[in-house]
């Protein structure tokens, strides 16, 4: 089971002839993902390292039956790439590209209303269903098939949580990096809901950071609906106010979105808070006893 992706996933890469696009397509294939081809305008009909290249997503879908895409298209064109995938009926769109203008993402967000496509990201590491399928840039070998669902805004913190839960023998069902941008596809809440409904997922790790109110909204849902143990970690308690910390979303304006307000909301929902990133796995291990 797990969530979002699995053995049935047929992946294409938009921007497959670029350096990063090709490298990660290869890595996903090595992990076991069924990578059925890629898209680069004007390079249709060629192949690159065994991947068939198409001019458009619609063509790639028609020829390969692709149901998922990962996007490495440069930021100025990435919003159009997302919309092209949605228009072609691709069910799962994972946008790795960072630096997409917010106005472009507002346009995408509104265009996807009522669409059947699910968007993850942008500015995210992607999704991995442990031992089965990987979409994105996460290092494959740290994953271990198991019982924990992980959702995070940050890439390397996702890896940290994956690594720790693997070392402790808990393993993961699926790890989802939702990305660090202000306007993004799946939210913490959406993914927590999926993990809650997934019978294979027995515990949930939620990793957030300063800025926005995604974590607070997930907390409200957890309080009402989630019986599985949840461990939370929030990065950025020591970040100065008004400074953007790498992620476009990681900035505290006014009093909303502070690390403290997020931790308080999660605690009030019964979530166990890991005070440092080093104890995420251990807290989950204890909560699963």
């Amino acid at each position: 089971m797990a969530i979002l992706i699995g053995a049935e996933t047929r992946l294409i890469t938009q921007g497959i002839t670029g350096k990063a696009g090709l490298f990660h397509s290869q890595k996903c294939r090595e992990y076991g993902t069924n990578v059925v081809g890629g898209v680069t305008p004007k390079k249709g009909g060629t192949t690159v390292d065994g991947f068939a290249v198409f001019n458009t997503v619609a063509e790639a879908r028609r020829e390969t039956g692709a149901n998922a895409t990962m996007i490495f298209v440069p930021a100025p064109y990435a919003a159009d790439a997302i919309l092209e995938a949605a228009n072609a009926g691709i069910e799962l769109i994972v946008a790795i590209t960072e630096g997409i203008p917010v106005i472009d993402m507002l346009r995408v967000h509104n265009a996807l209303k009522g669409s059947k496509s699910i968007l993850i990201g942008p500015n995210c590491p992607g999704v991995t269903t442990a031992g089965v399928c990987k979409i994105g840039i996460a290092p494959g070998p740290i994953h271990q098939k198991g019982r924990i669902g992980i959702v995070s805004r940050s890439g390397t913190l996702t890896y940290e949580a994956v690594h720790q839960t693997s070392l402790l023998g808990l393993g993961q069902t699926t790890a989802v990096g939702i990305g660090g941008d202000p306007i993004h596809g799946l939210s913490h809440l959406d993914v927590v809901r999926m993990f809650n409904d997934d019978p294979e997922t027995e515990g949930i790790v939620l990793i957030g950071e300063i800025g926005g109110s995604d974590e607070e909204m997930a907390a409200a849902f957890i309080k009402e609906h989630v019986k599985k143990p949840v461990v939370g970690f929030i990065a950025g308690a020591s970040a100065p106010k008004g400074k953007r910390m790498g992620h476009a979303g990681a900035i505290v304006d006014g009093t909303a979105g502070t690390a403290q307000s997020k931790k308080d909301a999660l605690r009030a929902a019964g979530v166990t808070i890991a005070e440092t990133a080093a104890e995420i796995g251990q807290k989950m291990f204890e909560a699963m006893k």
Binding site: S152, M245, H247, A277
Partner: protein, 389 residues
């Protein structure tokens, strides 16, 4: 990036919005040129600097003739303006906006920004303009209204009517307001703003709306297509931050004494947090990114050590795309070329971790290896002598 008031007003004027007549000058010798735009010799000179509270700090001066205007220009340009927001170091005034003076009957507040939770543009309006919106929010929150224009249609008649009523505008002003609001919305979208604040949006002596001051911030991700606004992406950055950005590094200087080098923004923040957890303070935020070269790692090291407050360095890398051996080589290069004046703690994990650790061990350099994040943070905190047990 932020725009100066004169740059913001140029955008507003171009969009057909009512702003006072005015002209920017960069030296007192341009006074004549500045006055020519006013259609008279009386007006107001406004310091162009990225800070609020300019008026109280002496950065806004009236003049009633050319001699006074020149005197004001000589005094203000080059002066350091110290306001509540700038701290004691202040900001240097490099330009002055000369404007005609407007009679003000009422001051309103109007801002356009992003509501992240709703993924929607939001209008924030208040009949109590002219002061800090945060103060209004704190003391009289009922005097603030948020309205959400629909993405596909922009601000519609019902929304504009509701806003005009909330602001207490008469029929004629309401018509003007609708035009102003629609145009501001368009300026916000077309210029990739993340904030467009008009404070005050004034009613002048003749009862007409006029946009007296503006703050414009452009989305960093969209700077590449908004350089025509005249904004300078580097205007408010520290020289080390600019240097770092050239090498694909994201660096922010902080006040502590443990230099950090981390991959990934989230892990970089979490590393700062765990240093604080163990009783020490981070000297910087530094994200080397997901695919930094050996040279970039060396550069990162140089930037960290150029901060004289740094008493220890913690490198925390979870190698995903970036293999640990590349990081190790970058560190060894940096130490070999610049020397190592402070203790260096390195925690490596992930792709090629064994190769990376081996390189460091065989380098013969005095590098302290850490087993995991906790061990690394604890050791770094011990090095600066402020560690909690």
């Amino acid at each position: 990036m932020k725009l100066h008031e004169y740059q913001g007003k140029a955008l507003l004027r171009k969009a057909g919005l009512p702003v006072p007549r005015g002209e920017v000058i960069f030296s007192a010798s341009e006074t004549k040129k500045g006055l020519a735009a006013l259609g008279g010799e009386a007006g107001v000179a406004k310091a162009q600097a990225f800070t609020g509270g300019r008026g109280k700090a002496g950065g806004v001066k009236l003049f009633s003739n050319a001699a006074e205007a020149e005197a004001v220009a000589s005094k203000l340009i080059g002066m350091t303006l110290v306001t509540k927001q700038t701290g004691s170091e202040g900001v240097k005034i490099t330009a002055l906006l000369f404007e005609e003076q407007s009679k003000i009957a009422r001051e309103l507040y109007f801002a356009v920004t992003l509501d992240r939770a709703r993924a929607n543009v939001v209008f924030i309006i208040s009949p109590e303009g002219g002061m800090d919106i945060e103060e209004i929010a704190e003391h009289t929150p009922e005097k603030i209204l948020k309205l959400y224009p629909d993405w596909n249609n922009g601000p519609d008649d019902a929304l504009l009517k509701q806003a005009a009523e909330f602001l207490g505008l008469n029929a004629d002003q309401s018509v003007q307001f609708a035009d102003v609001a629609r145009k501001l919305y368009k300026v916000y979208i077309d210029n990739d703003c993340s904030l467009l604040e008009i404070n005050p949006l004034a009613v002048n002596g003749a009862g007409n709306l006029i946009l007296l001051d503006c703050k414009v911030t452009i989305d960093e991700n969209a700077e590449y297509r908004q350089l025509e606004t005249g904004g300078d992406p580097d205007a408010e950055k520290d020289p080390a931050e600019i240097e770092a950005a050239k090498h694909g590094l994201s660096y922010i200087k902080l006040d502590g004494n443990i230099g950090c080098m981390v991959n990934g923004a989230g892990l970089a923040m979490a590393t700062m947090d765990i240093i604080a957890h163990y009783g020490a303070q981070p000297a910087n935020f530094l994200d080397v990114g997901g695919s930094a070269s050996e040279e970039a790692v060396t550069k990162a090291f140089e930037i960290i050590t150029s901060d004289k407050h740094v008493k220890a360095i913690l490198v925390n890398i979870f190698g995903g795309i970036m293999p640990c051996d590349r990081i190790a080589r970058g560190i060894i290069n940096a130490v070999n070329t610049t020397g190592l004046q402070v203790p260096l703690v390195v925690r490596l994990e992930g792709t090629n971790v064994n190769e990376g650790k081996l390189l460091i061990r065989e380098s013969g350099l005095n590098i302290i290896s850490a087993d995991d994040l906790e061990d690394g943070a604890r050791k770094a905190a011990q090095m600066v002598g402020t560690a909690k047990a």
